[in-house]
């Protein structure tokens, strides 16, 4: 009887949707699938008239970036850094992928609905569409619209440098949230799969519109 009452009481409640994102707090280690705002990527700056001449370094601001490095590597690295901040570890750099508001890209680039649906449904292996971040899952408490990653475009930051940036209190990177399981692993597999793709000289099937025209 008690079980029936409980079932009846719960019948009207909406099911709790799974949480794609988990907030990240200050002082935590880095996570695979973590979204960080404002990472600086240090790149070489070349002379305007001589592209072979390095004249300095230029910090490139990544508005949003998602960490792609293996999570266990990040965990082990963090463990070693507990005794020494600048410890030289096996994890020399952290692999990251820039992320952009998906709808903004679509608007600016005037994508057709047909093309956009392929990208948004994660049916184009090159791109990863990530759902919007609710404010409750955002370490900054703001939330964020859906993101799009180009898995062909990635960069690295030295691990010690990334942690230095995160310790910087002068308004540098903000840790926003991270993908929960299994969405983290899903992104990991998609990235790994894209990097492992094989370029064929010719596809098994070539759509009619792409077939080369006859020479006569």
């Amino acid at each position: 009887m008690a079980a029936e009452d409980a079932q009846a009481a719960g019948a009207g409640e909406a099911p709790i949707p799974p949480q794609i994102y988990v907030p990240v707090r200050l002082g935590e280690r880095l996570f695979q699938g973590e979204i960080i705002e404002g990472v600086l990527e240090w790149i070489a700056k070349y002379d305007a008239s001589d592209p072979d001449q390095v004249v300095g370094v230029e910090p490139r601001l990544q508005r949003l970036a998602v960490i792609l490095s293996q999570d266990c590597d990040l965990a082990q690295d963090w463990g070693r850094r507990q005794s020494e901040l600048r410890e030289v570890t096996d994890l020399r750099s952290v692999l990251m992928c820039p992320a952009w508001p998906a709808e903004q890209l679509r608007e600016e680039q005037k994508l057709t609905t047909r093309r956009w649906e392929v990208v948004r449904q994660n049916k184009d292996e090159r791109y990863a569409y990530l759902a919007d971040v609710p404010p409750s899952a955002d370490g900054a408490g703001q939330g964020h619209p859906a993101l799009l990653l180009d898995l062909a475009s990635y960069f690295t930051v030295r691990t010690s440098e990334l942690y230095r940036q995160l310790r910087d209190t002068s308004g540098a990177p903000r840790r926003r949230c991270r993908l929960a399981t299994p969405w983290r692993e899903h992104l990991q597999c998609r990235f790994a799969g894209y990097q492992a793709r094989i370029g064929l000289p010719m596809d098994h099937f070539v759509p009619e519109g792409r077939r080369p025209s006859l020479p006569i």
Binding site: K45, V57, L105
Partner: protein
């Protein structure tokens, strides 16, 4: 006489050419290797032969020293840090 090779006895000698103050560790290990090999059954000898031959070949080949770096790129004037530039958004490729 070993069980593995009836009718054949393997013998080895260790001769000290001077007053033995100490026996180097590698000499002791070499001696132990001989003892182990002598006591191996016949089917194991082919494996040991392959391993030892491989080790002998590796350690007897001429060594090539890595070429020293001729010039380190230390002369570049890279002490200038430019202003922060924001990364532009990527282009979504056509279908």
């Amino acid at each position: 006489m070993t069980e593995a090779h009836p009718g054949i006895r393997f013998k080895f000698e260790v001769e000290c050419t001077g007053e033995p103050v100490f026996v180097p560790e590698d000499a002791v290990i070499r001696l132990l290797c001989h003892i182990f090999i002598e006591r191996l059954p016949a089917p194991a000898i082919a494996d040991v032969w392959a391993s030892i031959h491989d080790a002998w070949e590796w350690h007897s080949r001429p060594r090539v020293s890595p070429r020293p770096v001729d010039r380190l790129p230390g002369s570049m004037a890279v002490d200038r840090v430019f202003g922060v530039v924001e990364e532009p958004p990527f282009r979504i490729a056509e279908d």
